[in-house]
């Protein structure tokens, strides 16, 4: 069950795993995620399904080593099996032809962005991607993103690659150059918060895909709740994507840090 077919190391602490999971591969839609749990003591961790192949019955996930449990997943090798894998969870991305979309992704947030870019491109959108990271080594999936983007801007905090600056700098550059119909942002909560502030200023509709703490991932625990326009929403069943301008990111950041 859930055997790892292929492992690829994307950066120092990010790995890509192709997993045999035929039922999930068949049912999965763009933007949905799975919950992964290793061993008896493992945490239940939500991870976006980056790609799926119905014919080979596989799904692809990308994991960043950020703690004990994700370290365990990163350490898995080809041939290993994942004890518990459940999904696909969450609502699918609304795929439509919006016109020009700017996709602002940071760090490992690039991974969940990839399937959205692919699907949005396929229905005729013009895709401009801002690929941001702290430093050059943390830029992932550049080749794949390039393939499905009309234009790509890379920014690094330290200037080691692309433009020196933040994802918001790249995004604002694009906004000033051409008319943007939609912005999609995925990355650390603080990054999404500032992208959202920026696009609000320019009145550009913006979608953020949230990565809150979850346990069951099926709407049972409420750990993932966020305030969206003052209303409680569960990221696992009502999301993960929300209108970024309505999300209370400050509250979300507090809750993300609750167990740190």
């Amino acid at each position: 069950m859930n055997k790892i077919i292929k492992k690829e190391i994307l950066s120092d602490n990010v790995v890509k795993l192709k997993i045999k999971a035929p039922l999930i591969a068949k049912a999965r839609k763009t933007g949905q995620f799975v919950i992964v749990k290793l061993g008896k003591n493992g945490e239940r961790i939500p991870l976006t399904i980056v790609d799926a192949n119905v014919r080979s019955g596989t799904i692809t996930i990308i994991v960043q080593d950020v703690g004990k449990s994700s370290k365990g997943i990163c350490a898995l090798n080809e041939g290993d099996e994942i004890d518990d894998l459940v999904g696909p969870l969450g609502k699918a991305t609304h795929i439509a032809n919006y016109g020009t979309i700017v996709c602002a992704c940071g760090g490992v947030g690039t991974a969940p962005m990839l399937p959205i870019i692919k699907a949005m491109k396929k229905v005729g959108n013009k895709i401009i991607t801002i690929l941001a990271a702290k430093t050059k080594d943390l830029i992932i999936l550049e080749k794949e993103i390039k393939k499905f983007s009309n234009k790509i801007i890379i920014t690094t905090n330290d200037g080691s690659y692309g433009i020196k600056g933040l994802v918001t700098d790249g995004t604002e550059m694009v906004i000033k150059e051409e008319k943007i119909d939609l912005c999609i942002t995925i990355g650390p909560a603080i990054m999404m918060k500032y992208v959202s502030i920026l696009t609000k200023k320019y009145k550009i509709p913006t979608i953020a895909s949230l990565n809150t703490i979850m346990i069951d991932g099926t709407g049972m625990c409420g750990a993932c709740r966020v305030s969206v326009e003052g209303e409680n929403k569960f990221v696992c069943v009502d999301g993960p994507e929300f209108d970024a301008h309505k999300v209370n990111f400050d509250e979300m950041i507090i809750r993300l840090n609750a167990y740190k």
Binding site: R44, G87, G219, G222, R225, I254
Partner: protein, 489 residues
């Protein structure tokens, strides 16, 4: 359902007759109701060991003598699944405990569970003939637990006989008490049962909700094991409607579906500050501790281990949460409930246990606001003083605020246990299913059929938040009616 005539016939069996004659009723009445031993409160608040220790054989034999084996046993009518109570108790009296356990299992898929968590004082025991003479009722629940524990502890677990003739495939969605009860009864009738569970453990609320100190996991697992031996197939990590669609089940030849997914979604009060760090639903807290083992060494799932914990609510889940917090080191573990103690929906026994464990009860208060520190962690709760008013629709006295009377309480963590609502995720996956205003699945109350062909539903998904035994009763009823209807065609 057990027919009256059949009951009478069984009561007339010679061994029952002999037992009745062996002791005069007036002597039986004089025996005081048994008291179950429990762990010392000062000891048990430092561990998760089961609080109630069960009866000894001597205690059980004596208690069984208290049952008069009366002509018109009302206890059975008080049981949602109609267990043949006098028959199992009289088997205990004649020291045939394994037979008693078998009788329980003819009806109940989970006797060791029910013996622990059923509110017997409101069900079977509330109908006991002893009450008519102002005597304590027979401790039916204790005896049920005793018989089920006895066969497990003596490695003599019997597997109920099943009818192997039928090959019809039936799907059960959810492995909580409703699903397990349904599966067990359908297996006995000879159906091929597959139970689909979304989580990584079988048992539903019995596993993630009810704590170890009230219902140890090994007790649940032993009963699930019996179901497995009855040929029931359990598949974990599958969400019907997500991983597999209803249409997929249909295409795979399932002729009936029982939806027993529970209520699931935790309610919040939507008051200021409720999304501060350190405020969680009872579902989250109990799932972390019970299902994920967060307080155990080696577990990757974290849980707050803090000193001042307030639980909002007055039901069994609230009591389970506050007693769990106490065991995880809370020095001040508090219940905040808007009505008085008498109106609390929790079982009397649970409240008594909580009191012994020095849980602080703050009755007639309700939170109106939470206050956080500079990091966004909850540090205080603002409480509104309440008083009791007129009766409401539930027959309890309404709680109404006392104007201008509030107080601030220091807390490190808040657990919100104010009920659950049906989980829309599951319902949305069955297109065309009739749903009530409150989000529960609408069923025919007699058959538990939904408006969709061959789909039945039971447990919290039709009731909102309810009890284990009512869920099991639904499983029993749905199995009965699905069997009848499948055989008409």
């Amino acid at each position: 359902m057990i027919k009256k005539k059949y009951l009478k016939f069984q009561q007339d069996e010679s061994w029952r007759d002999d037992l009745r004659k062996s002791m005069k009723n007036q002597d039986r009445i004089r025996i005081p109701r048994v008291k179950m031993k429990e762990l010392d409160p000062n000891y048990r608040v430092h561990n998760h060991s089961e609080v109630n220790l069960g009866l000894t054989l001597e205690q059980a034999l004596l208690e069984s003598k208290r049952c008069l084996d009366c002509n018109n046993p009302q206890c059975i009518t008080g049981c949602p699944i109609k267990i043949n109570i006098p028959k199992f108790i009289k088997n205990i009296e004649r020291n045939n405990i394994l037979e008693a356990a078998k009788i329980l299992k003819q009806t109940s898929a989970l006797p060791a569970v029910c013996g622990r968590v059923c509110p017997q004082e409101k069900q079977c025991e509330s109908k006991c003939i002893h009450l008519k003479i102002k005597n304590d009722p027979v401790a039916i629940g204790y005896l049920e637990r005793f018989a089920a524990d006895f066969e497990r502890e003596n490695n003599s677990i019997s597997i109920p006989k099943i009818n192997k003739n039928k090959k019809i495939k039936i799907a059960v969605i959810g492995s909580g008490p409703a699903g397990l009860s349904f599966a067990g009864n359908m297996a006995k009738l000879g159906y091929k049962i597959t139970v689909f569970e979304a989580l990584h453990e079988i048992g539903g609320v019995l596993k993630y909700g009810i704590p170890e100190f009230r219902l140890p996991n090994y007790v649940i697992d032993a009963e699930i094991d019996v179901l497995k031996k009855n040929g029931i197939k359990f598949i974990k990590n599958i969400i019907i409607g997500k991983t597999v669609s209803y249409q997929d089940l249909h295409n795979e030849g399932y002729k009936g579906i029982f939806v027993a997914v529970g209520a699931g979604a935790p309610n919040f009060m939507n008051i200021p500050g409720e999304n501060l760090a350190g405020i969680l639903s009872s579902n989250e807290y109990l799932t972390r501790v019970n299902l994920m083992g967060a307080s155990k060494k080696g577990s990757d799932t974290p849980v707050f281990l803090v000193k001042k914990v307030a639980v909002i609510g007055g039901g069994n889940t609230a009591i389970d949460s506050v007693r769990t917090a106490r065991r995880l080191g809370a020095e001040k573990a508090m219940i905040i409930y808007r009505r008085s103690k008498e109106e609390m929906p929790a079982r009397t026994e649970e409240i008594r246990h909580a009191e012994a464990e020095k849980i602080i009860f703050m009755n007639l208060y309700t939170p109106i606001k939470y206050i956080g520190d500079e990091k966004g962690q909850v540090k205080q709760v603002c409480l509104q003083k309440m008083k009791l008013g007129d009766l409401d629709s539930s027959g309890r006295r309404r709680a109404i605020p006392v104007p201008n009377l509030t107080k601030i309480l220091d807390v490190d963590m808040i657990i919100v246990a104010v009920g659950v609502s049906p989980n829309p995720m599951i319902i949305n996956s069955f297109k065309g299913l009739d749903i009530s205003k409150s989000g529960t699945i609408l069923v025919n109350q007699n058959t538990l059929q939904t408006n969709l062909l061959n789909i039945y539903a039971g447990g919290d998904i039709i009731r909102g938040g309810s009890t284990v035994i009512l869920a099991m009763g639904d499983g029993f009823k749905a199995a009965d009616s699905m069997h009848k209807i499948l055989n008409q065609n």
